[in-house]
Assembly symmetry: C2
Homo-oligomer: 332 residues x 2
DNA sequence: GCCAATAATGGCAGCGCTGCCATTTTCTTT
DNA sequence: AAAGAAAATGGCAGCGCTGCCATTATTGGC
């Protein structure tokens, strides 16, 4: 069933072939400790000749020091997470760390199971999205003793390291921007907020800000399932059918916002004069549309990058706020 | 520097606590071999009490059977690869396999280095994109004895397993479709073809088909760097500046095609009467645009899914053609 | 040319588990 | 109730490496 590796060359065989001891080979290969140039050449020649590939499993077990970094992410469809992985991956590869991942589908129970499975690999760090975890997950992570990095959310208490930005602040600023532009009849189109708690935080901060300025949310349309362009289109269609006099609509993210934008294009709804659209994420595609999308650009790649750097450097517990940038665009 | 795990509970400690032998604990935990219900309860209680998490590193070393699956992918920005990972990840998680990955940036040299690094983890399988690998990579993979899965391309000779579809066929069918629709002045907008060899294969098959029907490619604009919506927009702008009388443009993928589409929207170029647009990939977003994008839908998630299933089942060497689907859309 | 440093090197236990084999216990069967 | 089969269990080597310590070769200083 499982795969068995065939006759692999071992360090001991290399040592024999090179006529040196095992520890010497180990030292040469890791460039650690001292050895003569002559020895190094002999060893490297033997490595080359035998096609030796070190066994990191054995090495990790022996040193009880891991260079695995585990990612437990909610989704791979939402471009946010591939972006984070991308940022982290570059740093990890440079430092000879290895990324492993699994996908929770925004299911906290699954997150707990997968986190447990990951810990079995004794990673140097576990990277998780946000702060909302089951009690079991938290307990396990804490007990593991490995570094914990919570990503893309700063509204809560960090377990160890946290890298990202405040979703609540993003929601607040989005609302403030729309209000400043003079919109008063504002609606919302979003996807499943119970699962995507970060979107939920943006939304609630958005609503609070509107309320504080006497312009409470006029209407909302929340679609089941994941965010998508089609859901954004559909959501706006439904919202406008119910509440046609909206001046602006806030979307749970750019995918959804683009759907809304396309709906307006298709129906001849003038943007932003007739209806303003505001998104979240700052996807590249939103800058290439005929009218650049008004949105908030989040530092997704940087989040992964910084998170990986902190892990590699074994930095002390801290919270790193990378902020975000409001892009005025032309749709609001 | 590297992380050291603190006082972790070992199997031996669980055995002591439960008052049984190590092998018994091992059997219970893997549900393998025979043991009494009473013993199982005692063991599980001890596991619970001590918060024992098995060490897969040690287990893998001892059994010399790996449940790691390595992905060496060109990019995480191109949605294709997250999609493949997503498809594979579901199957792998179900079967208690663990996915590890690294990103080559379409650089064959980096691919070789990263493949070597991955083999050090003695994975059960290595998944790579396409058939174009350096001699060194091929030699290494072959020698490793682990399963090799080549993804998303079938135009070449498989090393072991291959899952995907023919990019050449996709290029051919795209050309045939445009010709059938009556377009004769056809251009191309693409990204760096030397790096993305699959896009290169589509393009050359596309051109050959055009040539065979006496409608050779009228012009082309190839942009350096990765594919993106903005590059698609820019590419079409340049192409039309040079060759304004084109009837249709084939794009290297949907991202690029969307850029072209947006360019037309912005410039008031009527689609498809004035200019037809054809993409590749069948992204969801292309179905939510005011005019659905004419494109080819590729089975990306299924590719990952099937690849993982073959690995898990330890299937014999084979090539699995998942085909693709031409979506007529409204832009061509 | 002698001795103390210092550089190189080898030996081997042990990381935490699994696989094999031997042993003990429990069931069946006659 | 005895014998044989089957189930349950424990012991321990060893997976391939690293880390520590002991040992041996070099080097420099006077």
């Amino acid at each position: 069933m499982e795969f068995k590796h065939q006759a692999t060359v071992t360090l001991a065989e290399v040592a024999d072939a090179a006529g040196v001891g095992e520890s010497t080979v180990s030292r040469v290969l890791r460039n650690h400790g001292s050895f003569s140039g002559k020895t190094r050449d002999r060893v490297m020649a033997a490595v080359e000749r035998l096609g030796y590939v070190p066994n990191r499993i054995a090495g990790t077990l022996a040193s009880t020091a891991s260079r695995l970094v585990a990612f437990v992410i909610p989704s791979l469809s939402n471009i946010v997470f591939p972006d984070v992985l991308r940022g982290a991956s570059a740093v990890l590869e440079e430092n000879r760390y290895q990324a492993v991942f699994s996908v929770t589908d925004y299911d906290p129970g699954k997150e707990e199971a997968l986190a447990a499975a990951m810990l079995a690999w004794r990673p140097a760090a576990v990277m998780v999205a946000g702060y909302e975890h089951t009690e079991g997950t938290v307990k396990m992570l804490r007990a593991s003793g490995c570094r914990i990095v919570e990503l893309l959310d700063l509204d809560g208490d960090a377990l160890d390291l946290a890298v990202g930005f405040s979703n609540r602040a993003a929601g607040r600023e989005s609302a403030a921007f729309l209000l400043k532009r003079g919109y008063r009849r504002i609606g919302y189109v979003g996807h499943d907020l119970n699962r995507d708690t970060r979107a939920g935080k943006r939304f609630s901060a958005f609503c609070e800000t509107l309320g504080a300025h006497d312009a409470p949310l006029a209407d909302r349309e929340i679609l089941a399932g994941a965010s998508s362009v089609e859901n954004g289109r559909l959501g706006l269609e439904r919202l406008l059918a119910r509440t046609p006099d909206l001046g602006a609509v806030y979307f749970s993210n750019d995918d959804m916002a683009l759907g809304g934008y396309f709906h307006c294009l298709a129906r001849g709804i003038a943007i932003p004069s007739q209806l303003a659209i505001f998104g979240y994420n700052g996807l590249d595609i939103g800058r290439a549309t005929p009218q650049p999308l008004s949105t908030i650009r989040t530092p997704r790649v940087a989040t992964g990058h910084v998170a990986a750097q902190l892990v590699v450097a074994n930095a002390p517990p801290q919270v790193v706020d990378l902020g975000f940038e409001l892009i005025e665009g032309a749709t609001a």
